[in-house]
Point group: C2
Chain length 413, copies 2
């Protein structure tokens, strides 16, 4: 008899963004005249850069001719892209990597959800709170948590690392024994970023306690402060205890184009139950070779073009465009009386709700009164309650208009 | 402390195709003058069809303009492709599907390796023997088997369904209680295909015993005999007990382009430990929404173009080209004295080794004496011993030459 994975049944309600989509759809139906501005989901709006488009056309033409056609590629990604990643993202920051330490994927969501598979089935993990929901949900679904505790809004058996205004929304290393910790830096959703010294403390603790840091640096291109590392491997010794995940979604507008990569250094080890060290690099390699068949050739050529001089220039212009939006949100809402975090090293502004309002109530108010879609902070974990996340990925015009509408509500007068 | 998934350590040696690649590389280095013909791995060689290339260029252009740019798509795939699948692959065969029963993926390898996740962690499964290695390996890695039994060449705890010359290489339903059964029809590697009556028996048994058939029909386009169903859903009642997986790799040359789909009918149910029925469709939906972020827009447009009248005509011409190769292999080797199965409803010929030779020995002999790369049948399971798989995906010229070289060895004289 076919038994289902009952862990799925622990998941309460809908995926955060599905719930938002439903609410927006209902409002839109009831108010078809409303000009809704979406600063909720972190999806980009600028088209792909011309250098990337050109590379894709070229690759498509190659696929149409027998002499240049490509069938199955290496599951780990083509060397041309893996080398471009090493040269473009790591050598420039003084980090040496071997080509077989880099694994090209089809999106950081897939990578971050699946990386847990190389760890033990009785996996104990820690997450920042609030945090990007996939770290948690994917672990729930593979049975690495206890039940949903509706009263507390948490899962039993998970180590939550509170991120609050008091600690600058920066998770501190767990005191409990864990196998892995998910760290998103700069953080989604709070938009805050850890400094070099803070990351050094993380690496030091990970070495002492032998846990692995799953380091999601999807937003590294948005870092503007010199003291914030772009890669965890800028920290000495991090290769022994960290796996880094990157995405082209936010730095090159690939949300609908789908490419990512994972760096698993050869120095990085986990342990068998008997204490023997096991290299994680061949384990992830085996995982990818069995569960994945490579990212499309055309898409890998697109990602490669991101690293060309033209690609870099064009994509950086888009990042700057979004960062200008982030500043418009941050500065505009601060001027209107709000307390705002983030939006300095990240495209996300983390906005405190007025007068202790609940996240979903403020979400509803902004949708109904300002026709602006946001993301309720409580959707990212219990310590997100009392905040909203606003994203800078809209057009400049819409961003200005949305901020004006929110300011015009005069919630602090 | 980070504990690793020790199930990975159960896997003996290398992935089959990696081992072959190493042997070929070593031979090639030692004999740089040898003109090696590869009929081993099932990778296509014909370029993408012009209709598909045209659709990809158009989609790339859309991604380069703000008005037509696409960010995150639905995790389940765009409706334009899901509808094209229903109209092109199912309505034409009298099968009705709802659009949300179809899930677009990035390749059947990913889909088939991950589908197990919606079933219980104490999953018991059956596979044909011999069979495509991913069904088995992926389950080993997620802990659904016992240890590797080197003596027998099997994993403890797995139900193997022997496919032999005696039963026409057609797996018969398991007598043991299992949760799921992987069925590949037409079969990879034997190239044989089950008839409608045989599949009816499978569906009937699955209903009686409440197991789910994971039906991999990656090779359905190669079916030539009228009595072989193209979809399991041609069998009455199959929607209650079957999940079907399809790929564009072999019907449209997408091995390097990556697109697939899974059909999970709403009628298909599994069971909780207490016996309550649970629909599998929302479970796979939840799995995809959390672990996946959709197939690239450009690739989905490419797959859509496969269903256009021009796309169908062009792709069918390629399928016919490969099938001509299959017949060249089958007829040529039969004429040379070999016993050959398959190659009628599939691009694979399943060739008995001469004089009871072991698979790997015959593989080595053909590599060394004929400079032809094949796949040893024993790599697909213990009942594959004594056979080789030859694929029809080369060029016609190379296929003719390879068959001539093998015949010239005069192994039966």
């Amino acid at each position: 008899m076919a038994h289902v994975n009952e862990n799925y049944l622990k998941l309460p309600g809908n995926y955060l963004f599905a719930t938002i989509a439903k609410k927006v759809e209902a409002f839109s139906k009831a108010h078809p005249e409303a000009n809704i501005i979406r600063l909720g989901i972190g999806d980009v709006t600028r088209p792909l850069a011309p250098a990337i488009i050109e590379a894709m056309h070229k690759a498509v033409d190659e696929m149409g001719k027998a002499e240049t056609f490509r069938g199955y590629g290496p599951e780990q990604g083509y060397d041309f892209l893996r080398q471009a990643i090493i040269d473009g993202d790591y050598k420039t920051r003084g980090i040496d990597l071997d080509i077989d330490e880099v694994f090209v994927g089809d999106g950081a969501k897939t990578d971050v959800a699946c990386i847990q598979e190389i760890f033990g089935s009785d996996l104990k993990f820690a997450v920042a709170d609030p945090v990007y929901p996939v770290y948690l949900d994917s672990n729930v679904m593979l049975g690495h948590t206890g039940d949903w505790n509706a009263e507390k809004g948490i899962y039993d058996g998970v180590v939550y690392l509170p991120c609050t205004a008091e600690n600058g929304f920066k998770a501190e290393p767990p005191t409990e024994d864990v196998d892995i910790v998910y760290l998103c830096n700069p953080s989604n959703p709070t938009g805050t970023a850890m400094s070099k010294a803070e990351l050094e403390n993380w690496v030091k603790t990970a070495k002492e306690k032998k846990f692995i840091i799953i380091y999601d640096s999807a937003y590294e291109t948005y870092i503007t402060e010199p003291d914030v590392p772009h890669s965890i491997f800028e920290i000495e010794g991090a290769k022994e205890v960290a796996i880094e995940l990157r995405s082209y979604s936010k730095c090159a507008g690939f949300t609908g184009t789908r490419c990512s990569y994972v760096v698993v250094p050869k120095a990085c080890v986990g342990y068998k139950a008997d204490g023997t060290a096991v290299e994680l690099n061949p384990m992830w390699n085996r995982r990818q070779c069995t569960f994945f068949n490579g990212t499309p050739y055309v898409i890998q050529r697109a990602a490669e073009a991101y690293y060309s001089p033209e690609g870099q220039k064009q994509c950086l212009a888009d990042v700057n465009y979004y960062m200008e939006n982030a500043h418009i949100i941050r500065d505009g809402l601060v001027a209107a009386g709000f307390t705002v975090y983030g939006a300095t090293n990240s495209p996300y502004a983390w906005v405190q709700t007025p007068n202790g309002m609940k996240s979903w109530d403020f979400f509803d108010l902004l949708l109904e009164k300002a026709h602006v879609v946001t993301t309720p902070g409580s959707g990212f974990g219990p310590h997100g309650e009392g905040y909203l996340r606003l994203t800078a990925f809209g057009t400049k015009e819409n961003t200005i208009e949305a901020v004006k509408r929110i300011a015009d509500l005069k919630l602090f007068k």
